[in-house]
Point group: C2
Chain length 287, copies 2
């Protein structure tokens, strides 16, 4: 089986054996926004035709390739939804050979929410962790928090935490006294995360990054860690965190490390997964 | 008396008679960031030397001209502070002739907050309205909410609402489906303001602007009004709004109109003031 995660900025694939073990991986900076002339079939052939040669090869593709801006639109599946619902709604490009995995949608108070790709990571982490319920966080430009019961995502919400960090640290007045790419200062990060607990929200608390710098209480590298803590702390403040069980964090090590720090500050146990969750999730959809 | 409001992007002045009536006004795009070679004395002379010619002329200058990046730093006066405290701490550039008005600082949970210029507008509006207490909002790039008792500002908080609107509408993913300079659609604005009452915060609610557009439920011009409503609604959600008395809004007509709409939605009575509050406030500091 060939598992492909085709996102906005990159294309990653893995060749799996019968048991789901990764035999080979590859990645290219050919995200859906970088596909020449929208020739998704051509890019796919160049990248994966050798892997697809053996008879009976099947490829499932998750991520933004199934969006309106992607190869073909695979309409969102409404929550609650689990692997069974997604499997039934796979969008076959070549029947039995190549399919796009649909994303999930959820509706809260007349406002829809969407994810594409994260649902596969959630189902993969469930399989790897042997879980059929729990609270999942997928940190990123647009972080997702999903609640799983009986093996299905019953609801989720998006938080633009990573994007807000980029906007504030690079384009706002805070940029004047902030070193955006400074290494993480854990103590200052946790100070910011704790401060978000005041419930005053980012419109107010972000201005504190400016005033603390003006008053000489935060250096430019510290300001970056403090702002990151403020925003991730705000995201956590808005969750109903389980006091009795763990949260599953799925993402890059740098990001899941920050979320783990802030979650542990609130006495929540964290278990983390990386890229392996994607491959396990795509495998779960085939099996 | 000459009253001057020297801000970040513009320089405005008024010549007042003995009774405080405005005889003449002028303005120039010579905010503190646009003063050639930092020659504040030179710019001041060119703009106001004719007005300052009569013997006994006094000029008070409020705004960012008194900041570290301005003419001379006039250190912040800590809350609680009223016109008496500011008058005692005027920073005289030419004794008895030209002075900078200090800004105010406040401290909440080890994080300082600051304003420069808005304190003068508050004292001016108090004088014009005949009030010695109340809740004041000064909408803008960095909105201020100040509580006044016995004629003094006892505390205030800043909200980066205008700056967040600019960042999200111009630099974020929302910009793709949002017409930032569209005229206000009041119904859609109020829908956004009401939605902010869900308490989910802008990290989550801002993503709704994207999904509502993706699902065809907000047009690009509507998205601008909805986002504006979401952010102003969030700002209002974080205030303890008086159910029994009015809020005083001071600012440009376009902005105070938006805040008035959102406040009336919450059954709060609003009274608005514009530039006249600045002149009355500077006059109150002299008298």
């Amino acid at each position: 089986m060939i598992a492909v995660d085709w996102g906005t900025s990159s294309l990653r694939g893995a060749r799996l054996d019968e048991a789901g073990r990764v035999l080979e991986e590859k990645s290219a900076p050919l995200g859906i926004l970088n596909v020449p002339n929208g020739d998704f079939a051509g890019v796919f052939a160049v990248q994966f035709s050798d892997w697809m040669r053996p008879a009976g090869s099947v490829c499932l593709i998750s991520g933004m390739a199934g969006s309106r801006q992607g190869w073909v639109e695979a309409p969102y599946v409404a929550c609650p939804a689990g692997p069974d619902e997604l499997r039934r709604r796979l969008h076959w490009i070549e029947p039995g050979r190549i399919a796009l995995v649909p994303g999930l949608s959820d509706e809260q108070g007349d406002v829809p929410d969407v994810m594409r790709g994260e649902e596969v990571q959630i189902f993969g982490a469930m399989r790897l962790a042997g879980l059929s319920e729990g609270l999942f966080v997928l940190p990123g430009t647009h972080s997702k928090w999903a609640t799983v019961r009986d093996g299905r995502v019953i609801g989720f919400r998006t938080f633009m935490t990573g994007e807000f960090y980029g906007l504030l640290s690079q384009h706002s007045i805070l940029a004047r006294t902030l070193e955006a790419d400074a290494p993480l200062d854990e103590a200052v990060f946790l100070r910011g995360a704790a401060h978000a607990g005041n419930g005053e929200g980012p419109l107010h608390n972000a201005f504190g990054v400016r005033t603390l710098a003006l008053f000489g209480r935060l250096s430019p590298p510290e300001s970056a860690s403090y702002l990151s803590g403020l925003l991730i702390g705000e995201e956590l403040r808005l969750q109903e965190l389980p006091s009795d069980r763990e949260v599953i964090a799925i993402g890059t090590p740098a990001l899941t490390a920050r979320y783990s720090l802030a979650l542990r500050q609130r006495n929540v146990v964290v278990r983390t997964f990386g890229a392996e969750a994607t491959w396990a999730g795509l495998r779960a959809l085939q099996a």
